[in-house]
Every structure is written in structure tokens, then in C-alpha cells.
Amino acid sequence: MKEQTKLGWICALLFLPFATIHAQATISNTHASAFLTFAPNYFFQKNESNFFLHGQLNLFTEQRISFSGDAFYDLGSTSAYPTFNNQHQLFFGVNYHWRTSIHDLYLGIQPGIGLYRNDQALESRIPLAPLVSLQGGYRIYISPHFHFFFEGRFIGGQVISKNMQAISNLRFSAGLGFQL
């Protein structure tokens, strides 16, 4: 009985946000939103994936346009011998949205910069690489304060070092976001 009650509470908490979906989300055309989540990636030219802590701050300047800044912090790799010991990225750019009061589909572009460090290479150069990101995503506003989101992005660039590294990859993020 105790287990059933616990399960009931968990279900209620999980589905509580969905219960508010049909409530009209009164979200301003110009507002800010943010999220913090985990993002895996897939490198095109090597059998290696990394996991990142992904933070985003998004500012709607009008109904269809938002400016967003994204930061990715490397948490580790699936490979025992990763190409880079550290790789972190920063992006800033624009998104174009097709929005209703609940649904929001968007495409965007962001120039960025990445820091790529390989301890074994012992390089004296600053390991910075210019990057460009093309992203698309979907949001569903579940209340005036929360939304769920899914976002995928292509990141293009290359690291020029002792061993040339093409670092183009696909990256995915999903989770709960907040309207500020």
C-alpha cells in the first residue's frame, strides 16, 4: 500500500505539468527564457561521443525572433582515449520562430568559439577554434512559466594542431525550460 501511494505521488508529479497544457499560456511576445540540461553529441569522422552540460539564455525581441547565447561544458567522453581532454564552446546568434500560444518551432544560426585541449599534445598555442552552429528545435509551453523543449544542432569547424581534427558534430538537447 505504501509503495502504491509513493507510485501515485510520482505519477501525479510527472503528469502535473501536462495537465496545464490546455490552459492558455499567456506568454509575452517579448520575453526571456533559460534552461540547463545535458547534451550528447556525435562526431561525424570518429567513433566518439561526448556529454556536455548545456546552458542557454534566450531573449525574444519580437514574436518571431529570438537571440540566444549557448554554453557547452564538456563532462566526458565515451572513449577511453578521447581526442580532447577538454572541449568547451560558446555560441551567440539568432532564431526564427513559428509560434502559437503553445507550440514553437524554430531554426537558427550562431557563430561561436570553442576551446579544445589535448594534454598529450603539449601544445603552447591557444587551442581556440572558430565554430558555426545551425540549430533547430521545438518547444511546447506547458504554463506561463515552463516549457519542454527538444533541440538539435550541427556544429561545424576544425581544430588545427599536430593532428588535424575535424570537429563537425551533431548535438542534441532536451528537457525543461523556464520563462523568466
Partner: protein, 197 residues
């Protein structure tokens, strides 16, 4: 180094003036990605930013700074820092739908550092000057926000750095004479126009 200090001061003063100008609709701020091609170096990618000051309805100016990294024949890493300006002229009085094409020409100061991939401690660097000209178009996402695509050829008015192979390995040398070499820079930029409301 002297050029960079002069331009940096100029950049700050103009940026500050523009922000406090009463004609805020003449000022826009943005970020950009640049693809570099058709140079002796090879291909590369850059990231930067710019602001724009519009002098008249048909004349605009672009004040930019870019950091571009080029793969120099898979032997060396060539890093460019471009700081400069271009004048944009709109040949048509009106937009074509959401597009507004332009021709542009300008000048920039450039810094180049070339370092050998296998021995990064071997490097050479130089400051120089360059001129650029090309074509582009704004694509207006809204009255305040535009995406701009620009393609321009930049000619370096200085002696270029290159790699040379000797018995001890690769070294960095300066080419003899100004070669007027350059690169084709294709830039996509995102700009926010500050409109006085």
C-alpha cells in the same frame, strides 16, 4: 602593434558615440561567421562581430573584427585577426521583397601568425594592411533584424608568411616582395538594428 592600438581606440570611440547617438535607428550590432577560401593558405573558418553606422538611406558602413583560422596546406596553422571597415552602397532605392543588395569596399588592418603544426614553438607573425571589395545582400527577418550574406575579396598589402622546408624541418619565412595575395571571404552576419521608439 601601433596600428592595433590606434584602431582599438577608434573602435571604442565610434562605438560609444554610436550608442549615444540620438539617431539610434542608424546603429546596428551583430555577430558573424566567415569562410575563407581561394588563398595560398587553404580554407578556414572565422568568428567575429561588427557594428554598422548608416550615414544616408543608401550608404551604410560596417566596422568589424574577425578571428580566422586557416589550415595552411596541413603543415601549419595560419591565424588571422582582421580589424577594419567597409562602406556599403545600396544601388537600389527600395528593397526587393525582403532582400536589399549592396556593393561594398573597405580597408582593414590584419595580423597573421603562422605556426608549424608539428612544432608550434616555430612560428612567425606580421602586422599588415589590406583592402577588400565585394557584393552582398541583407535578408530582413524583421524591420529590426537582418541576416546579411557578403562575399568579398581581400588583398593583403604586405609581405606574406609561408612555410619552407630545409634539412632541419619546416620553418617560417617571409615571401620576397608584396605579392598582393589575399583570400575570398564569405561572411554571414546577424544584425540587430536599434530603432528609436
Amino acid at each position: 602593434m601601433r596600428y592595433s592600438v590606434i584602431f582599438f581606440v577608434f573602435f571604442i570611440i565610434f562605438g560609444n558615440w554610436a550608442q549615444h547617438s540620438t539617431n539610434l535607428n542608424r546603429f546596428s550590432l551583430g555577430v558573424r561567421s566567415t569562410f575563407s577560401a581561394f588563398s595560398d593558405d587553404g580554407t578556414g573558418l572565422g568568428t567575429g562581430g561588427q557594428f554598422r553606422l548608416r550615414f544616408t538611406p543608401r550608404v551604410n558602413s560596417d566596422w568589424f573584427a574577425d578571428y580566422i583560422v586557416v589550415n595552411h596546406q596541413s603543415i601549419a596553422k595560419s591565424e588571422y585577426l582582421h580589424i577594419g571597415w567597409s562602406v556599403l552602397f545600396y544601388p537600389m532605392n527600395q528593397q526587393i521583397g525582403r532582400f536589399q543588395p549592396y556593393v561594398l569596399a573597405g580597408h582593414c588592418f590584419d595580423y597573421n601568425k603562422l605556426s608549424i603544426n608539428s612544432q608550434p614553438e616555430i612560428y612567425g607573425d606580421r602586422w599588415g594592411s589590406a583592402v577588400q571589395a565585394g557584393l552582398g545582400t541583407h535578408f530582413l527577418l524583421s524591420p529590426q533584424v537582418d541576416l546579411s550574406l557578403t562575399s568579398q575579396y581581400m588583398v593583403h598589402l604586405t609581405k606574406e608568411l609561408t612555410t619552407a622546408y630545409s634539412s632541419t624541418g619546416y620553418t617560417i619565412v617571409e615571401k620576397s616582395g608584396n605579392s598582393f595575395e589575399g583570400h575570398l571571404l564569405t561572411t554571414i552576419s546577424i544584425n540587430y538594428r536599434f530603432i528609436k521608439k
